[in-house]
Symmetry: C2
Subunit: 436 residues, 2 copies
């Protein structure tokens, strides 16, 4: 067998070199995701700080600048520290972003969020001098948080390893759920404080509750068992029933005494005494979510490290096998101990006979195929989210609806036709050329 029939003329690349190159690519990709995972952790922390700063700023503005002056200042300092941690991590991992699939998307998301972050300083000044309306300030914070979450979404889409992708899908959806929980807390607090909820308000809160539910469902189907269990355990300690009772007070359409008109618009009266209770209850839920989120973030890091170690081990193992092959042209069967460290190695271990290079190539091909099949589940969840967002945008544009109205329309169609939301979204988009 002449291994260098041709390539001695132009170089010394052989099949084994490229098999190793294929495995190196995997290893490098995992290294980049370990770095990206770090960045995602700093984003998780930054988002949490922004959420708290937003809450304090709301209360400061709602009290006409009388309350939460010092708390707000402290929270702004904490956010600044989180911003700096994010920036320095970003510098460290920049080269990794260049290397992963979809780097152009990730960079564009970063440009977006930096652009939003840049305006934080002037927003804070406006808040201090109360030259910005509460709703407007809230919207600024919401946009900033959304642009940070969009980056996390994009990393999930960029992942090649199916377990890492699933872990990022779970993390993104949990973060998004927590953000909606934060918005619900703010919307509820202002309604109770004011003493009533009008229809727009109720619709908004229903929208936020619905959104949380969808996010948490996706989280549960993609989280590892430990993280999913942790969330179940925490919920046992959150006063879920009491939160539900208050939610019902806000959102149920009741006829009779509590339903009255304010400024000529129908609304539900609410007890201002409950404002504080609502805030405390929903905060306990959000704090629990933060802890689960930290667990998810830590889990992502461990996963990247474990995958990377496995990939390194496989690489070393294959290099050894190839050396043996070069000497004897056939390999001994794997011992069970050796095979235990090899991802999907049952394929190898199934074959007790000696193995050849062709088999090593086939194992790598099978592994890559299996990875890409497993990746599909996570991608589908991401694609469905994209579909729904695009369908909403289209409806908002063509029928001049608010985001919530567009969402409700999609949900109503899904219920009427007994189809999934994503399928309805797909139909809406497919019909856009016909109706648009």
């Amino acid at each position: 067998m002449d291994e260098h029939a041709y390539n001695t003329q132009v170089g010394a690349q052989t099949a084994t070199d490229y098999l190793i190159a294929s495995k190196r690519c995997e290893t490098q990709d995992l290294e980049h995701f370990l770095a990206l995972g770090e960045l995602v952790a700093t984003i998780s922390n930054l988002v949490h700080n922004l959420q708290r700063e937003r809450g304090a700023s709301n209360l400061y503005l709602a009290s006409g600048g009388a309350q939460f002056v010092r708390e707000r200042q402290q929270l702004c300092c904490a956010t600044d520290a989180a911003v700096n941690a994010f920036y320095s991590c970003l510098q460290r991992v920049e080269s990794s972003i260049h290397r992963v699939h979809g780097g152009m998307r990730l960079f564009n998301r970063i440009a977006y969020l930096l652009h939003n972050l840049k305006d934080l300083k002037s927003l804070r000044e406006q808040i201090v001098y109360r030259s910005v309306a509460l709703e407007q300030a809230t919207q600024h914070y919401n946009n900033l948080v959304q642009s940070l979450l969009a980056f996390v979404f994009e990393t999930a889409d960029a992942a090649i390893d199916p377990t890492i992708s699933a872990s990022l899908v779970a993390l993104f959806n949990f973060m998004q759920g927590k953000e909606l929980a934060g918005q619900e807390r703010a919307a509820g607090a202002s309604g109770f404080a004011r003493g009533y909820f009008d229809d727009g308000h109720i619709e908004h809160i229903n929208h936020l509750i619905d959104g949380q539910q969808r996010c948490l469902e996706v989280f549960e189907s993609f989280a590892d068992l430990d993280c999913a269990q942790r969330w179940t355990d925490y919920q046992a300690h959150i006063p879920v029933t009491e939160i539900e009772q208050l939610r019902v007070q806000i959102t149920q359409k009741r006829a009779g005494d509590s339903r009255a008109g304010v400024n000529g618009r129908p609304c539900i009266k609410a007890d201002p005494e409950l404002a504080n209770r609502w805030f405390v209850l929903t905060t306990s839920r959000i704090d629990a979510m933060k802890e689960v989120e930290e667990g998810l973030s830590e889990r992502l890091r461990q996963l990247c490290e474990a995958r990377l170690k496995e990939a390194h081990d496989r690489l070393t193992h294959h290099e050894t096998l190839i050396k043996m092959l070069e000497q004897s042209n056939e390999l001994p069967p794997l011992s069970p101990m050796q095979s235990a460290s090899v991802y999907h190695s049952h394929v190898l271990a199934d074959k007790p006979a000696g193995r050849t290079l062709m088999e090593l190539l086939q194992f790598q091909a099978q592994r890559l195929q299996q990875m890409s099949e497993e990746l599909n589940a996570a991608k589908t969840a991401l694609d469905e989210r994209k579909l729904i967002e695009r369908a909403k945008l289209l409806l908002m544009k063509h029928r001049s609806l608010s985001e919530e109205q567009a969402h409700r329309l999609l949900r109503q169609m899904a219920m009427n036709q007994s189809r999934r939301l994503a399928e309805i979204a797909r139909s809406v988009l497919e019909m856009a050329d016909v109706w648009g």
Copy 2:
């Protein structure tokens, strides 16, 4: 506006830096695909040479070593030159493979094909000494060609630019169609020479005709108009009708005199006088295909170059816009001439008002989204092919069928249920856990 509210502390990265980084990623990806396109062109050429060498080797073996001695030698030399061209190109573009999405898959395909290529020398020796059966030698060449085509398939799957991906899907399917045409030529020639076609033979040829048709349909739906038109034009010059008449002679199930038994198996008698005519006709078709394929390959090169130039222009253009923004914080509207050079720039040109950095970010986001939506069409074609291949493999394994039998079973189910082949394949795979 304080652009360095935070980042002066840890660096000077701004939103505009990352917008530029996003555009650079696009440019780099296109550079890598320009390199990969070169490699695909050398593969196209290598495959063509292997097909001719396989044909001559068949005739040499079929004639008991009496005919095509010199022709075979010349064709082997031509193949060697093509192999060397492939190797030296591979060395040049290796770093590009490292950088594209799915590099690990591409490297594994290369390892496969190098492994197959390595055995070519010993195969040739066996052919010279006629120590290998014709069918076995053919199978070796077929496998080698398939492993080369598999690399082209993978590049189509790795492409991010939708036009480049479509161009590679068209090229791959055309190459695959041409390979099946080559196999049909060989199978027909041996049957005519022998004087009969048995059922297995007929089934095989039907399978090859059916496969060509599917490949050429996909080619037509993904090729640019020029290349599709060129194929239509060539077909006008190929004696298609005569080829069809001979195909009908081979494949139609006729009752009566021409259907008789050879070695106890039913078969169709064929006129050995037609062997040469069949070879000439099918060769004229394959030669025409080679010319169309060269057009496709050249088209791919031009496309990569054009896309790369556009990306460079956009990058320069954006750098200019960003400089203007830094000076005035708002941009003038694009002139129609400027906008003409910018891909999807109608989005920009639609807005006559001054533009801000946020708008530039949104344009980039829209472009990336549009690219990924357009990419879906090509990906779907590739995914459907993968589905069908996987379903076939599964049926072959679980029901001990040949590839052709598995394919016929799928096709039969598709016809019975009036569903597309890919949908049936999906159902088969989904049901594997239930039935497997």
